[in-house]
Symmetry: D2
């Protein structure tokens, strides 16, 4: 069997069919693969099997047994490690040359150490975290950053390309690292823009004018373009991506820095302010609400404007 042949249908065990994993598993199914799913949350599994039949449900004990691919998109690398190597860990049941694709926003260093254990067992392993939220998971247009051996990534691409556009970032763990660092840069751009909006609007600048000028000048970034008018000036704060997930991502980036002994004063303050927002506002608010922490610290609210 050539599992990496585009035309051939593979057996995919998909673990974690939550907000992201659900629609992603659906895309693989629609792509012609035999998809079976597992999730610690039974409702998630039922939602999938209601559509695709009871035979798509996997028990914990079945995980891995006949899979060509195990795809995982789970809360974090700790959960991934548990599923692979914990009690009843699926690794013991996997056939040789099966491939594990970890699409979780995970920790590069944990990924590297799991990789070493899996290599010793002749199990292929790549990291392939995604960028883009639920709608892009649904229509298969996620950005997928893949780390791992070139041959492994190549073999995974037919599957991955059903879910999004693949970018190869380098060796194992590099996908996880890139994802976290991208989000760090994004979060910092958001935060400094908010501080600028607070200072400027308190001085008397119209925040809509500010966003327009930033966007047509060197202050432009992804947040000035896609978040400030949409979620902040509108006071809607409804991007759909929760604060705690963003904090997790940039904590991964900064964990990487600490492990490498790289001082990153600016990145760490960014994390501490985002993380502090989680303390003050709660973990489940929209990530764009981090603006409210800056506003509370300043005792000033950026005026609402509909533009």
């Amino acid at each position: 069997m050539q599992a990496h042949d585009k035309k051939i249908s593979s057996v995919v065990h998909f673990i974690g069919v939550g907000a992201m994993g659900g629609p992603m598993a659906q895309r693989l199914h629609e792509g012609g693969h035999v998809v079976r799913v597992f999730d610690s949350n039974p409702q998630r599994v039922e939602a999938f099997s209601a559509q695709h039949g009871k035979q798509t449900e996997l028990s914990l004990e079945q995980l891995g047994s006949d899979a060509d691919y195990v795809v995982m998109i789970l809360p974090n690398s700790g959960v991934v490690e548990e599923v692979l190597f914990g009690q009843n860990g699926l690794v013991s049941r996997l056939k040789k040359n099966a491939m594990i694709i970890d699409m979780t926003s995970g920790q590069p260093n944990m990924t590297l150490s799991m990789g070493q254990r899996l290599e010793a067992l002749n199990i292929l392993f790549i990291d392939a975290p995604v960028s883009g939220a639920v709608p892009r998971a649904q229509n298969g247009t996620l950005t997928i950053m893949t780390g791992g051996e070139a041959a492994s990534v190549e073999r995974a691409e037919p599957l991955l390309s059903l879910m999004g556009i693949v970018t190869r970032t380098g060796p194992l763990g590099s996908g996880h690292a890139m994802k976290a660092l991208n989000n760090l840069v994004s979060c910092a751009g958001y935060l400094i823009g908010i501080e600028a909006l607070i200072i400027g609007s308190k001085f008397g600048l119209d925040p809509t004018v500010m966003v327009d000028v930033l966007n047509s000048s060197t202050g432009m970034n992804n947040s000035t373009q896609k978040k400030f008018k949409q979620y902040v000036l509108s006071r809607k704060f409804d991007s759909g991506f929760p604060l705690h997930m963003m904090v997790k991502d940039i904590a991964i980036a900064m964990g990487l820095a600490r492990n490498l002994g790289v001082p990153a004063p600016f990145g760490n303050l960014c994390l501490d302010l985002w993380s502090g927002a989680k303390g003050v506002l709660g973990p489940n608010v929209d990530h764009t609400e981090v603006a409210r922490l800056s506003e509370q610290l300043a005792g000033w609210q950026i005026p609402k404007s509909n533009s």
Copy 2:
């Protein structure tokens, strides 16, 4: 005389014909205005009068006397204040309803207080700092942010539009504020991107791949697009805009924050790191060399790559 009529030629006293002011004065001259210049550096004045005739030279004592417009682009607001109100200050010689256009990257609060004094004297005053460096000054495509009374800005626009594209930012001082805040957001985007490149490349990511991924994802900003490959990965550091000027701009932004009592922890750390780079590397290096401070702190250099 309708000085604001495009077809009518005005008498413009242009103060500060340095790297920026020189070509800007040239544009006004080419636009048909009677341009006379002053600069504390006699070579700057000679460079202009060599082309346009001795009669374009102004002495300190002549400054303002027969001007319809005084245009200034000087090192900072302290110099502007000196030129206007210091010993031999030109304000005393200005005719009523003459207009002063301050194109310096200035301090909004000083601009406001000078504005109050000028209003009492019936002298029109706007701030009109520019974004874009020498080449755009030469071909008249600067971005010009104007703050001041709508009627004043309108009257100035025929002149300004010879030098660039005008954006109205609001009341007096708002141009200076906007310019500084834009550069703050830009500098923060640069700095966090550098930290990400250091962490990522030390982990093993290829910096060129990193920049590509950032640019196609939420980590995108003006620096990832226009500075990282060009000046950092190439190790050329030759953007042409010096470090001390950037530090001045973001110091203005943070001075504004302090005056307004707005805590801006992220912005202040940004300033302190840029300002610290000036201490470590010297004021006259290219502003993109701030990356070298982050590298020195990390004991790690982002690998060169030609892409």
Copy 3:
């Protein structure tokens, strides 16, 4: 008249008889001087004159006229400048060689520029801010940091020593600088100690044990000794010194740094967090409540303990 002779009674105009100024003026009165007072808050003046007679009240127009000394302890240097040079400013009424003693926690740079104007008028001027709160004002044991010409400070010492212990810090403004920098070091010691208590107590350390260990080790500072058990672990937060005054002091220190072009990343973050606490908690809470901001950011409260 030898105003600096201990035995000789001087005429002192005392401006600002608030929480601190009231008891300090009282000490001068008890020391045998002719003390007359002014305050923009009439109740403050009445409180003094109720005890010492109506003739101790000064009108704004009388300020300075027959004074040997003008002593001021006002909210900030802006108010000092207004009182000296504003409309009805007292400087115009002062006799030559009169001395102004500014005991406000003031801004060194404003002090220096006021000093230049006063020197031109032959008026002596020193800064003499105080450390120690109301009880020490009452019993005359404040720490007084004096900046100014040695001869001037010497002449002021008999008066000052009625209010506290005098330390000469150097030239004009140095008292104000020293006071602000001292409070900066104090605030940073407080803040880092709070972060340590939060981390440690969340890990499982007993905060009382922590404070004891800090105090007997290199982590010792004024706050570990005199504030943590007293105001934090007791959850009393009743030191009596308000948050906004502390924020003002460290804002002065950081204003000094910015004016000198000194990057002070650690000091600026300290200020921004203290200043942010003012935004979140309000200006009038006890300064020790800054701990609550750190707690809110962490989503964790240092356990109460009575030790």
Copy 4:
């Protein structure tokens, strides 16, 4: 055998007889215990056995075999884990109820996880890091922070009290946590004091006067008292404790914070600046030289003064 009876001599395997461990092992020997030593550096072992006889040398394979106590003071918790559980790990040879005393400045979370593994093997384990440098190791006056079961700590105290004064900090790991947090508070006090000295001296204050005022006021901390005149104003920078060790300690404190999800913006900036000094100045300079990074950032040196 009652190993915890003061009068009874125990067999102690002492691992890590470096700058600190050497004199500490010596103290145990002088206290009447049978001390045998191991170190990955053979010269360290020879230095000990030259004095106390060849029979005091242990091979890797002998480690643990007949020990009542294993005392370790090693570079970090990673090394401790290797020695206990790595290839040839001593744990396999330890008799039941033997006790391991980890005096390394270690990571509390690693200590906790090692503790779980050791408990399962019926091996007693406490952490007992020390504060105080080589001279205090030599005369047995270290501060020793002990974490672990009360009964275990009690049993260890006769040994520990030969090396210093014991403070019980709580459960396992609490000694390591306390030590790291104490050093964090100490490092922050040092750093803010340096920034204050730079700002103040650039303004014109005499640094000696500054230190005196801080010491007699609320700015007082361990560094103002014991380090600023001694090592900074003297420009000697010869405290004897290297930079990389201090950075390790505060990295442990901040690792704890990150593991607990506690944002500690001030602590993290402290770490990043200390860590950045390591990058700029090298790991082996005296820890007091961190002042030089602040000076380089400021482009200003605190004047030398002999006081």
